[in-house]
Each structure stands twice: as structure tokens, then as C-alpha cells.
């Protein structure tokens, strides 16, 4: 478990937005996708996922619909709203800048 990093605060929202940006996804799917995207490097605490989904929906970044899952169960599917898409783009840029700045700073120290 040592290589599983805990989520930085504020990252969960971006990851959720990212994982539903390709196709509508239910909560469990979001969880799997985040693990898949990050190559299992980031583990989402399951209890934090649903409050985050509810919060994003409340903020109007996600909208939801009940549908049928692959395993033929009733599931709630989330998808991005236009506002969610804008937020994802903005957040992605912010993360990229942050990541660049971070790696520069780290490299500078090494040098």
C-alpha cells in the first residue's frame, strides 16, 4: 500500500470531472476509472466519493440520471454539464501549471 498516495485536497473533484468527461458514469464506475487513470497510484476513499458527487451535482457541474448498468442493475449515471466542462478545462490548466512549477522547483533543488 506504500505506493498508493492519498489524494491531495481538491484533487478528487478534478478527477471525478475528468472520469465522467468521456462518457456518463455511475459512482462505482467513477471509482474504478480514477484508479485506472492513475494506474492505481491514487486511491479514492470510497466514503468521500458520494459526498463529492453530490457536492458537484449541487454546484451544477454534474447532472445525473438513473439508468441500467452493465451488470443490469439500476444505477445513477453522472455526466458533465457545460459548466462542468469549463471547470474541468480550467482545473486541468491549473494543475498543469502547478505540476510544471513543482517539477521545476524540485529539479532546481536537485541541480
Amino acid at each position: 500500500m506504500a505506493d498508493e498516495a492519498a489524494l491531495l485536497p481538491g484533487t478528487l473533484d478534478v478527477l471525478i470531472l475528468k472520469s465522467v468527461s468521456l462518457a456518463p458514469e455511475h459512482g462505482y464506475g467513477v471509482l474504478l476509472r480514477i484508479e485506472q487513470i492513475t494506474g492505481g497510484a491514487l486511491l479514492v476513499e470510497q466514503g468521500a466519493l458520494y459526498p463529492a458527487l453530490a457536492r458537484l451535482e449541487h454546484q451544477g457541474l454534474l447532472e445525473s440520471e438513473w439508468g441500467t448498468s452493465d451488470n443490469n442493475r439500476r444505477a445513477k449515471f453522472y455526466k458533465l454539464t457545460a459548466a462542468g466542462r469549463r471547470r474541468l478545462k480550467a482545473e486541468t490548466e491549473r494543475w498543469e501549471r502547478l505540476a510544471t512549477a513543482m517539477s521545476r522547483a524540485l529539479r532546481a533543488q536537485e541541480a
Binding site: 470510497q46 466514503g47 459526498p51 453530490a54 449541487h58 439500476r74 444505477a75 445513477k76
Partner: protein, 906 residues
């Protein structure tokens, strides 16, 4: 998520939670599927999946918080908690809610009257822009009318008034197929209906400036038909009917417009019908129809016209005009008129006030006093509930300490307790609203019949808003102090005390004592007011009236002057007198222009100047006096004593020398110890007597008649023979041997024998009439008595509550005292003294308050001074008796404490 759906979530948390549960269940089941697919056993997979997920409850809670407005959710929780807390102590809840329901209900009921009479805008378009207009005369400050020529000039010159109309009330007799009927007519000058902004429901109304003769001058407005006004019988005369009259008399005949009517012997055409509920001017009896006064009516007598200030006027301000600017402009116009017509207009101003104020003017102060009184009752109810809450808070100290120990902040606990108060207040308010809807109906039966706009009284939206606001305010008032006090708990002390009887904190007890003092003081003030108004009412009822109303019936008969000259009307009245006196059982009958309880003319404008022979007085300095034309026998029928000289006889006619009878007041004021018999006086007012102002010899002196009503002290009064100043309007008084009501058919028959087209109306016994004249005072006294009784009861309950609580708290102390040999009487005395201190403090403050507020009731009282020590003494005694009774019960309980039982409490 929209605010609406979040609001909705607060009220149906179940639905949100079910959806969340479904979603979480799906998650767990999918995880189990995957684990099983990975080779785990089903049971292990389930355990793992659930463990991984953590507490579903916590997930649910934190997910839900997002979906609900958290504070609203907390509020809903507090409300539910409050309701539960109240349900746990049903007696407390019932007492508190009942007290509040009475208080709020009484307030709502009185407010519904205040709202209808004082607050509701007049039911006309843009009622706030309507202004009442009149000429001010420093010599007649009560006058509220305008003359026709002044009205025409003001209307022509004013820029700030968009339109202006005037009218006077008039009565006519409608004849035709049905029984002859007297109708109330407003004779209108100018386009009244467009000033008010109300179009007719059918047909049309008068076109502005449409020429046409008016049906008549107001009674007494001119020296008979000699006034020089030709009365052509043209088909141009027109009337507009009120909806009510159209429905009652013509059964809502759709073909009414264009039909002809015969009014007082002349024909009129119906132009239109006003909409249902339209009433203007607002009066009792209501207006049946409006007729038009053409512009030429007064034109030929301009000199008379300008001083004949007999018309009411209403105008509409331009939309951009402030009333102050309009008043400034009218002041300029008035001073111009004063310069132009110094004879009639010197010193005469013009005044406008918002029409709604004018309509309510006379009744607003008594109503506001009643409203203040009922608000005091509510305040006392608040104090009582606050006291109950304080007592309860002491009992709930452990609960509060526990919540506080578990981390609830002081603000949170205060808020929670306040919510409980608001729940109480709102339940009380809802019940109060119900009480009010019934109470208003009862109240409407009680209100004086001449209360303006009484038919608009009812519980409407504004009244309901008032109830809700009053309930919330009530909840805050009685809730804040107890909640703040209760939330201030000393944790360790409260929790350590455990189940032991807790002693009341001295501070809480002092607060409760202060509240009781406050409510006693309020009750004293209310009681004082009620006693004053009740005394006024009783004094008015039993005031020596100077006449004997027993077995006297009076009615009103009008000889339409379109049909009869004044002389002919006088002859008709004489015929009627003879016919009535021929009826068996009628002891006497006589006509007079007014009833003795009316006290002369309504306005000084119609009171003539008095001159006494041999005492020249400057024209301007002449006093005015009331006068009443009467038929012979009038004094005997009414039992007015003849003090000196003689009554009129049939020989006092138009052909004989003019004579007069004066009352004792006038004899005293003008003749002192001289014998007035044989002296001569003159009554002079062009409006009434024209140029016919002969000297009249005083032939008799009669007793004073005090007039009913507060303004009713006896005034100088001159009686003259009806035959020497005949008139088309008179009241007839009939003295009968037995129940006067049984004579009504015979009286109607006698009137018909004189003129078959003649209706009589306003048939009442004099005793009823006197009762009506004090209706306002009766209403004030009755309501104040009810309110102060309620206040006294509530204050007594409050006092009882505080003392019995104090006794209950100190049962142990009492037990020790008694066990150590204290005399039970001493224990009783201690409690009584405790109560007496509160009572005395409340009484002192209350009397001081009542004394400070005497200005409020000035002018509304009769025969009693607001500073009368007897009043205060009565109030003090009543209050002491009731309050001491309230102390007695807990005091006796204290004295009877069984020391064994009390000590075992430990």
C-alpha cells in the same frame, strides 16, 4: 440543484435518502460482484466491500447536508424538537397556547375594525390621491363644508387639483306603483364619479358641466321658494342609482337605464347604475341615488351662495403633486377670494386633508385607544407565558446543561428555545385567528351603527398578515428573555445537583417578579381606563335629560317642498297633529323640527345670531343660539317642565305677533334674575330667515334639556312656533298610554289620511333613540371592560403562578420552619407579604402610568375626571382583592406543608 428543490428536500428528507441508499447499494453490490469475479467467496466479498466502504450512515449524512439548506434543516429539526417538547408537557402547552390565542384573537378582532375604518384605502381608484376640501372659518372651527360659488372658483383656479366635485345630502320621496319610499339622494356638482375614478356598471353618469336643474337646496338653505329660483319641469333631470337600490327597488331590472322616475312629484330619467358596493358619501342610511346640480343653480343668488357653506367637496390631486404644495396653492386662492369678497370670505381659508383621514376622523381616537388596550392585554399574555417559560426553563436545566456539555453553543441553545417559543406563538396565533373570525362577527353587532365603513369590517388578507406578524412578535417578546436566561447554565452545578430539588436562582426569580409587577401595572392602567369609560357611559345614561322619554314614540316626516310650500307643509303638519290626537290611547302629539336630544343644528352655520332688544351689540360680536320650531303641546308630550309663562297655542300663527319660548340656560345667561317674560329678542340668519327677522316676544321659559352624547351640556335654546316658521321637515313626538310600538299602524294610517304619498320613517321610541346616541360610549365601555377583565385575570394568574412556584421550590424550607416550631400563620404571612410587595409595586407603577396617560382620553369622557381619586381607589381595591385571592391559595398551601413530607424530599 435549484433552491426550490432543496427547500423541497427539507420537507421530504425520506425521498432524498432513499435515492442515496439505492446509489450506495448499487456501489456495494458492484464491488461484491467484482470481488467474487476475482475469486473471493460471496460472504468474504460482502464483508470486504462493506468494510471498504466505511459507515454508510456517515456517508449518507454528509451527502445529504449538501442537498439541504443546512440551517433550514436545523430549523426544521428545532421545530420538530419544539413540538415534541411541548407534547411532553401538555398542561404547560395548553395554558400557554390558550393565553396566547385569547390575546392574539382579541388583537386580530380589534385590528380588523381598525383596518377597515382607518387603514384600508378608500375603495376608489388611487384613493390616496383623494382629498377632502372645505372652507375654514375661525368662528366655526368644526365646520367642514364649502359654498357653491367658492367651490366653482376654487375648481377653476386650482392647478394642483386634477378634478373637484361637491355634493350635499338630500331626501326625496319616490312614488310610483309601489309604496311611497323616502330615498337618500346626493345632489352632485361636478363629475363626482370621475373624481373617484369609478365608472358606472350600467349606462352612463353625468357628463361634466351638463346643465340641468337640481332637485332642491338642502333643507333650510333658503327662505322658502321665494329664493328666486325658477323650478322648470324639464325632462333634463337625471339620476344615477346605487346598485343596492336598483336591486331592492327595481329587482335589478336590466331595462332600468332610460326609465323615468317620479321623485317628490317631479320626473327624472335614470342615466345609469353604479357598481355593486359603490358607496359615496359613506353615510347611514346609505345613499340610494345621485342627482345632478347644474352650474346655474346658485348663480342667481351669488350673495347668498357664497356664505352658504353647506356642500361637501372631494378632489383628486394631480399625480405629481404633494398635498402640501396643493395646500399652499389653495391658501393663495383663499386669500384672493377673501380680498375679492370681503363680506362673505374675510378670514375664510381652504383646507384639504387626505380623504381617508377625513372619513375616519371622529372615531379614530377611541378606536386607537381600544387598540392600545387590546395590545396591552396581549403584552400581559406575553408576560404570563414568559413567566411560564422561565419556570419551565428552571425545570429543564439538566436537559440544557446536558446539551451544552455535548457541545451545543449558547447561541444554538438560545435559538432552540426561541424556536420553541415561536412554535407556541404560531399555534396560539392560528387559534387566535379562528377566535377572531368568530369574534369579529360578534363585534360587528356591537359597533355603533354610525361607525363609518363598518360594513367593510372582516378578516381579510391584511388582517391575517397582522395576525402572523403579531404572533411572531409575541413569540419573540415572551421568548427572548427566558431563552437567554435559560441558556446561561452553570454546567457543573446543574449536572452535579443531579436529581436533587434545585433552588431557583435568585436572578431568575427577580426577573419573574419584575414581570409580574409589569403585568399588574398594565392591568391597573387598563382597569382605570375601563372604569373611566364605564362611568362615562353610566353618567350619560342617567344624566338628567330634562325630559321624560317613557312611552314616547318619535318619527320623521318630510313634506317634499317640490310639492308643498313651507306654509303648506306647516298646515299639513297641523292636520297630522289633529289626526294623531284623535287616535284613542294617544295622549298628545306634536311636531318639532328637531328632537330634544339633538341639541339644535348640527353645525353652528345653521344657528342664527341672537339679538336682545335694547342691548345693541356689534354685528360681528353677536352670539349664536340654537333654535327649534315646535308645535303647541311639544313640551307637554316630552315632559319638559314649563317654568314660567305659557306654551305656544294655535293662536300663534303667521298672522299673529311673533313669539318665542326660551330655555332656562338662555334665561340665566342673558337675563339673570330679571323676568324674561315680555322681553323681546331677534333671530337673524339670512340663510334661515331671509330678511324676515322680526322681534319675538318671550312668552315662556322651559326647563333645560341636556343632550345625549358627550358634547351634551345644556345650551341656550330658543323655541319658536312651528306655524310662524313652517318647514318641510319635522320630527313628530307622540305620547301614548301603553307600549308605544303598538301604535305604529295607527300612526301610519293617520299620516296616510293627511297625504297618501307620504312615508314615515325613523320610527323609534325615544328610549331607543337615547340608547343609540350613546352607542359609541357603550361600545368603548363594553370592550374596555372586557379587555381589562381579561387583563386582570391574566395578571392574577401570573401572580398565582409565580407565588405557587416559589412555594413549591421552598417546600423544604417551609418544612424546616414548621418542624422547628414556626406558626403556620407566620409561614402564610411570609408568602402573602411576598405577594403584597409585588402587588404594591405594580399598583404604584400602574397608577402613575394611568395618570400620565390621561391626555389620551381627554374629551372622550363625560361626568368623570381622569384624575378622580375615587376611580383610582376603586381600581386599587378591585385589583387588591383579586390579587390577594391569587396569593392566598399558594400561601395556604405553604402553611399546610407537612414537615415530614417536606423533609423526606431530601
Amino acid at each position: 440543484m435549484s433552491l426550490l428543490s432543496r427547500l423541497a428536500n427539507v420537507f421530504r428528507p425520506g425521498r432524498v435518502e432513499r435515492a442515496l441508499d439505492d446509489e450506495l447499494a448499487f456501489h456495494i453490490e458492484s464491488r461484491i460482484d467484482d470481488l467474487v469475479a476475482g475469486g473471493m467467496s460471496r460472504a468474504d466479498a460482502e464483508t470486504a466491500a462493506r468494510r471498504q466502504f466505511g459507515s454508510p450512515l456517515r456517508v449518507r449524512e454528509s451527502s445529504r447536508d449538501v442537498k439541504l439548506l443546512p440551517w433550514l434543516d436545523a430549523l426544521a429539526r428545532d421545530v420538530r424538537h419544539g413540538v415534541r417538547a411541548l407534547r411532553r408537557s401538555p398542561v404547560f402547552a395548553a395554558v400557554a397556547i390558550g393565553t396566547l390565542a385569547l390575546g392574539i384573537g382579541a388583537n386580530t378582532a380589534v385590528f380588523s375594525i381598525v383596518n377597515a375604518v382607518l387603514l384600508k384605502p378608500l375603495p376608489f381608484k388611487d384613493g390616496s390621491r383623494l382629498v377632502w376640501l372645505w372652507s375654514t372659518d375661525p368662528k366655526n372651527p368644526a365646520a367642514r363644508s364649502v359654498s357653491h360659488p367658492d367651490f366653482v372658483d376654487i375648481r377653476a383656479q386650482s392647478r394642483s387639483l386634477e378634478s373637484l366635485a361637491s355634493w350635499y345630502g338630500y331626501e326625496m320621496v319616490l312614488t310610483g306603483r309601489a309604496e311611497p319610499q323616502r330615498v337618500q339622494v346626493a345632489v352632485v356638482m361636478g363629475d363626482l364619479f370621475s373624481v373617484l375614478g369609478v365608472p358606472p356598471a350600467r349606462g352612463t353618469t353625468f357628463r361634466a358641466e351638463r346643465p340641468g336643474p337640481a332637485p332642491g337646496l338642502p333643507p333650510g338653505a333658503g327662505p322658502g321658494q321665494a329664493g328666486g329660483r325658477p323650478l322648470g319641469d324639464t325632462p333634463e333631470r337625471a339620476v344615477v342609482l346605487s346598485h343596492r337600490f336598483w336591486a331592492e327597488r327595481f329587482e335589478s331590472d336590466p331595462a332600468i337605464v332610460g326609465r323615468g322616475l317620479t321623485l317628490s312629484g317631479k320626473s327624472y330619467r335614470v342615466l345609469g347604475v353604479m357598481p355593486r358596493g359603490f358607496q359615496f358619501p359613506i353615510q347611514t342610511p346609505p345613499i340610494d341615488m345621485w342627482a345632478e346640480l347644474g352650474p346655474e343653480q346658485f348663480a342667481d343668488v351669488p350673495q347668498m351662495g357664497r356664505s352658504a357653506r353647506l356642500m361637501d367637496a372631494i378632489g383628486r390631486l394631480r399625480s405629481d403633486e404633494a398635498i402640501e404644495r396643493a395646500q399652499a396653492e389653495l391658501d393663495v386662492i383663499a386669500s384672493r377670494l377673501s380680498r375679492q369678497y370681503p363680506d362673505t370670505n374675510a378670514g375664510i381659508g381652504v383646507r384639504i386633508v387626505p380623504a381617508v383621514d377625513h372619513v375616519a376622523g371622529r372615531v379614530s381616537r377611541p378606536l386607537l385607544i381600544l387598540f392600545a388596550a387590546v395590545a396591552c392585554v396581549l403584552l400581559i399574555a406575553c408576560v404570563n407565558v414568559a413567566n411560564l417559560l422561565l419556570a419551565r426553563a428552571t425545570d429543564r436545566r439538566r436537559e440544557i446543561a446536558l446539551r451544552s456539555a455535548l457541545g451545543a453553543g449558547r447561541a444554538r441553545i438560545t435559538f432552540q428555545l426561541l424556536i420553541e417559543s415561536l412554535v407556541l406563538a404560531l399555534i396560539g396565533g392560528a387559534l387566535g385567528g379562528l377566535i377572531a373570525t368568530w369574534g369579529v362577527e360578534a363585534l360587528v353587532q356591537l359597533v355603533p351603527t354610525d361607525l363609518p365603513r363598518a360594513d367593510e369590517i372582516g378578516v381579510d388578507r391584511v388582517v391575517l398578515v397582522f395576525t402572523v406578524v403579531a404572533s411572531l412578535a409575541t413569540g419573540l417578546i415572551f421568548g427572548v428573555a427566558p431563552a437567554w436566561q435559560a441558556s446561561n447554565v452553570d454546567l457543573t452545578a446543574a449536572l452535579q445537583e443531579g436529581g436533587r430539588t434545585m433552588s431557583v436562582s435568585a436572578r431568575a426569580f427577580r426577573l419573574r417578579g419584575a414581570l409580574v409587577v409589569a403585568e399588574i401595572a398594565l392591568a391597573v392602567m387598563l382597569l382605570t381606563g375601563a372604569t373611566l369609560f364605564m362611568t362615562t357611559f353610566w353618567r350619560l345614561r342617567e344624566a338628567p335629560q330634562g325630559f321624560d322619554p317613557h312611552n314616547v314614540l318619535s318619527f320623521d316626516v318630510t313634506w317634499p317642498w317640490e310639492k308643498y310650500s313651507f306654509e303648506q307643509a306647516g298646515a299639513k303638519l297641523r292636520e297630522l297633529q289633529v289626526a294623531l290626537q284623535a287616535v284613542p290611547g294617544i295622549r298628545g302629539a306634536a311636531g318639532g323640527m328637531q328632537l330634544p336630544d339633538r341639541g339644535g343644528a348640527a353645525s353652528d352655520l345653521l344657528s342664527p345670531f341672537l339679538e336682545i332688544e335694547g342691548r345693541p351689540v356689534a354685528r360681528d360680536a353677536r352670539p349664536r343660539t340654537a333654535y327649534v320650531p315646535t308645535q303647541p303641546g311639544y313640551f307637554r308630550v316630552l315632559g319638559i317642565p314649563l317654568v314660567n309663562g305659557r306654551d305656544f297655542t294655535d293662536r300663534d300663527s303667521l298672522e299673529s305677533p311673533r313669539v318665542a319660548v326660551i330655555n332656562e340656560s338662555l334665561a340665566r345667561s342673558y337675563f339673570g334674575n330679571e323676568n324674561p317674560i315680555g322681553k323681546r329678542l331677534k333671530l337673524d340668519l339670512w340663510l334661515l330667515f331671509g330678511s324676515e327677522t322680526p322681534m319675538r316676544e318671550i312668552v315662556g321659559v322651559v326647563g333645560d334639556v341636556t343632550h345625549a352624547g358627550i358634547s351634551g351640556a345644556a345650551r341656550p335654546l330658543v323655541y319658536i312656533p312651528f306655524a310662524q316658521r313652517p318647514f318641510n321637515i319635522s320630527y313628530v313626538v307622540v305620547k301614548t298610554d301603553s307600549d308605544p310600538a303598538s301604535f305604529v299602524p295607527a300612526i301610519r294610517a293617520a299620516v296616510r289620511s293627511v297625504d297618501p304619498d307620504q312615508p314615515i320613517y325613523d320610527v323609534r321610541t325615544l328610549e331607543d333613540r337615547i340608547g343609540m346616541s350613546v352607542a359609541q360610549e357603550r361600545f368603548n365601555a363594553l370592550l374596555l371592560a372586557m379587555f381589562s377583565g381579561l387583563a386582570l385575570l391574566l395578571a392574577a394568574i401570573g401572580l398565582y403562578g409565580v407565588l405557587s412556584y416559589s412555594v413549591a421550590q421552598r417546600t423544604h424550607e417551609m418544612g424546616v420552619r414548621l418542624a422547628l416550631g414556626a406558626d403556620p400563620r407566620d409561614v402564610l404571612g411570609r408568602v402573602m407579604r411576598e405577594g403584597a410587595t409585588l402587588i404594591a409595586a405594580g399598583l404604584l407603577i400602574g397608577v402613575a402610568g394611568a395618570t400620565a396617560l390621561t391626555g389620551l382620553v381627554e374629551g372622550l369622557l363625560f361626568g368623570v375626571s381622569p384624575l378622580d381619586p375615587r376611580i383610582h381607589l376603586t381600581v386599587a381595591v378591585v385589583l387588591m382583592l383579586v390579587a390577594m385571592a391569587a396569593c392566598w391559595i399558594p400561601a395556604r398551601r405553604a402553611a399546610r406543608v407537612d414537615p415530614l413530607v417536606a423533609l423526606r424530599y431530601e
